[in-house]
Symmetry: D2
């Protein structure tokens, strides 16, 4: 049986997903894409690292881009409520016999680096250096006018077990999902902060990062980003959309940064703070699930993802293949 | 000293504000305004009561309109996490020697009716009857295309003490505020669900309800509501806006229902789930506070409010008068 | 040489394209699509004909849908300035040895039915019955909130000669175009009313109607139509988009009515009233031409069109094939 | 009788209003306002003059700002179809015994400077220097994202006679109007290019320029301009709106440049190319006329205007006073 009960009894409190840290091959290229085109704010640039945030954000970084030979993901960042939660999480992962180490991260007070059973590198922190919000500096709004980092979406070779880990061991709550014909989880959207997701996972070759999501205030901001990308030579970086997801109700766009890391600018999901919110199940064969308006996603969207440094990628354990099915629906 | 620390140690968990219950003089008139013009969904109509909800909502009601001789507010509704929280709140209010009674409300499992020290009638519940969300039924979107009930704003004759009660005794967290010259709280925005507010309070003749806020997906929905109201004979019900608040960053509109109950359709505030979020203080003399774009609010917006049934309205205890000040700024 | 000079010396004055008349298999189905989903206004319904107009329009019809066994186009309608222009056009077509007959059309004072050399059935009128504009009746805005009929786009087996006819003999002015490698016109956008086009023509199997264009006020109206179509069972009728055309700068969508007649809801083109406006030429290999954002049009968009009743369809005279080229670009 | 017939028999062809030339006290200040805040394109800057255009425009200038001691308007610019129209207009004005002189204007081939009977300085040209459109350079869109110069609105001490001059002697066509109780023209909207107006005139102390109008693609662009103005210190330059006009159906905003020249960014009017378009008359007492949503315009909007250099301003000849009436309606 795929659906499990929510775990309300964990002693620590993960507040939300907060950032991603990845490598890029050319910091100047990345700066042009994230700052000049997308409209993010550069908090700080060191010799080999670019710290970026969105317009609304008061924390030091939501994107950490490090100069590297290969394009990889170094860590997925989550914020906890209080400093003590870091210690509780350290004990929790250690008890689970999972890696858990204290590391030093620029712009964060204390950082706990762990691995999920699937090998995904996750980092927890309670406090980042405070920086000014640019939310009321409207002349800085450009490109997407990105307001805040919203969610993380990963491929996993076993969605059922990854879903169970995030719900049972970390306290995430399920909002939407699709099951395979055999009743296993095919894709799951789970949250901590009260909207559709902080962490989503889909079956597939993994673990790999599928994309990070960025909230903007309205449909027009996404259309404007498309126009800017097209006129500035980034047509090839537009992968899918714009469109409306059945899942999450979001108006979305998928784009690729110069290193192939995928981003999802979106607007409009919904509130899920009620503990009695019933997760919404989708039939894998329902074409509205992926795109309410019917246009199929390109093959690359199902296949491409960013690898995690030093983490082996393996094929999915699940034998059904909904992707083929979906393509057939649209053929 | 006006600012107090947040209270993280309360045993119960209030999730969010959920609804308002008030009297209206003509249910058909109210139905025309809320359903035909604003676009709310009628969940149920009994002989003397109209139960309404917004498009996204799966709960039985966010507006309960009861036929009555006078336009009054009967209760402000809040949702708690679990059924046991109701018992804990019953004990909490009883210990505080405040009224706390179990009442029967259609569409709710158990309902606890209490009074704040100021006399505001508040009702808590853990579960409402589940009804279908209309979020994906886009042909039902009209008027404002209201997505969800968002917040409550009240006049109180002593904002400092009301603010302290909601923070210390109920666990609300401060996001934005203005102080009087003497350092007392003049207006406070406090939340539970992770955006700018569930409950705001402003100094003034009270206690009275100033308005309830309704979230919509974008600027265009608010402009369309204005156009619809104008062409359907509701020009007089448009009180203030559209505009951009400095406070909360919301794009807002204030309208009056046929009984004078004020509503604030708005879009775009921000995320406040971080426990280390620092409340933003505004200078009472800063004109951007009320309206970023400078247009003064009409006198009625400062003076008019809905009374609570059976609750005496008294003058503000605070002797400074920022309203005059603001008007002078714009003269 | 493909480009010819504009003809400023014609004695008559065609004001704009005004309407299309076509057959549909089920008037009730068509009414549901055009009125309930798209939001057009029903001016009148007779036993076998539905007369529709857009919200802004004060004339009797911009879409005339007649019950028929087959889905065909009966006529493309154009409005002339004055009644005398009809007589001048009658003489003009007769002098050119082209069919020109006076016919009776419900809702029009006098109607002149002609054929272009390619066989396209065109009807001219100077006056339609006046009906009220719904532009200020905002509660009638729904679906697309269609404001006005904007343009006609046809396949023609010889774009060069069709283009020359509309420019030399009817006074249309070229705004944008693409040429084949041999320098012949591949596609041409020509206007009378002062925006990008009243009549566009593209090389291909024809003559056939490719689509009619409908103006709406903003991006959000097109997104809302997509959401409504998706939730009301019209996903299969969404053919292409939304997107931004390089050509015309329009934000567009292509949809098919229940009989396969294609419609293009769009917003935002530009003013072309200046006589010294220089037509903009596009390279057929420029992918921004069709879609600024890079997504290729589906094969159906290049191939499907509505036939004109009684007009033989023949293959294009032009031997180059830019469609293949474009597909290769995107493969 | 206030309404006169349109004059279809003039030998020349005025295409549209094209630009305004005025003096400003500080070119750097003006550049900051028009270019940095509003988002216009600087075509050229000479020692004492700034030539600006909007994003869509291919002509050299739509705003000519000249360094001067006083803030004045030097000329209202209109474009004619062909060079010969300039000669025909020269003869026309000379025959009418009105001033008509050939002048030299940077960026224009030939320029004819005339005076209307009321003394308004008007300049006609057929060709400006061609410059590139920025319409497809979306990264240049900012502030208002102004697409094109749209219209001119003037105070005149005798609206009836000014209206008659523009219609009878220059071929403008009436689209909307309001009459005084005695049946004289109080305000008139007249066009050449096929939308609501190129030239509007309102009774009042004059002649003076009330405002120039600028077209933008959507509501969101106007909201963004407001946010940018507010956050960049231009709150005092926001005079009225945003709102919806009954007249013209435009979504509007009125702002003042640093010298007090008024601008109206707006979006969405309608097509008026049909010769049988019937002008829409408004009752002066209809509050929807000015603002569909009911908010009264501030006193300054009725009183303030830019004077024309060397042209005496006199009181209105009309004795009725609709402004008082309107204010009473809203008191």
């Amino acid at each position: 049986m795929a659906l499990i009960k929510h775990n309300w009894n964990l002693p620590f409190n993960i507040i939300r997903c907060s950032h991603v840290e990845c490598t890029v091959k050319d910091l100047d290229e990345s700066r042009r894409f994230y700052v000049d085109i997308m409209g993010m704010i550069e908090t700080e640039r060191t010799k080999d690292t670019l710290y970026l945030r969105c317009l609304e954000e008061k924390n030091h970084h939501s994107y950490v881009l490090k100069q590297g030979e290969k394009s990889e993901v170094l860590a997925l960042g989550f914020k906890v409520a209080f400093d003590k939660d870091l210690d509780l999480l350290h004990k929790h992962f250690t008890d689970l016999k999972l890696p858990a180490d204290w590391v030093t991260k620029h712009g964060e007070e204390r950082t706990l680096a762990v691995r999920t059973p699937m090998g995904i590198p996750v980092e927890f922190h309670a406090r980042q250096t405070r920086v000014p919000t640019m939310m009321r500096e409207f002349s800085k709004y450009k490109g997407l006018s990105p307001l805040r980092f919203d969610h993380i979406n990963c491929f996993t070779p076993n969605c059922q077990s990854t879903y169970e880990f995030f719900v049972q061991e970390l306290g995430f709550r399920l909002t939407e999902y699709t099951l395979t014909e055999k009743g296993d989880m095919w894709a799951a959207w789970t949250h901590r902060k009260g909207n559709v997701h902080d962490m989503a996972m889909t079956n597939g070759k993994g673990p790999r990062l599928h994309h990070t999501g960025i909230w903007t205030a309205g449909v027009n901001n996404i259309i404007h980003l498309l126009d800017v990308m097209a006129s500035e030579g980034y047509v090839e970086n537009i992968e899918r959309g714009p469109g409306r997801h059945g899942i999450s109700n979001a108006f979305f766009l998928y784009i690729l940064d110069p290193d192939g890391h995928r981003l999802e600018p979106f607007t409009c999901d919904y509130l899920t703070v009620d503990p009695d919110w019933e997760p919404l199940g989708w039939d894998l064969r329902d074409p509205k699930r992926q795109t309410l308006w019917g246009a199929p996603a390109p093959q690359s969207w199902f296949e491409h993802g960013s690898t995690f440094r030093g983490v082996e990628v393996r094929e999915s354990d699940i034998d059904s293949n909904p992707i083929i099915g979906q393509y057939e629906d649209h053929a």
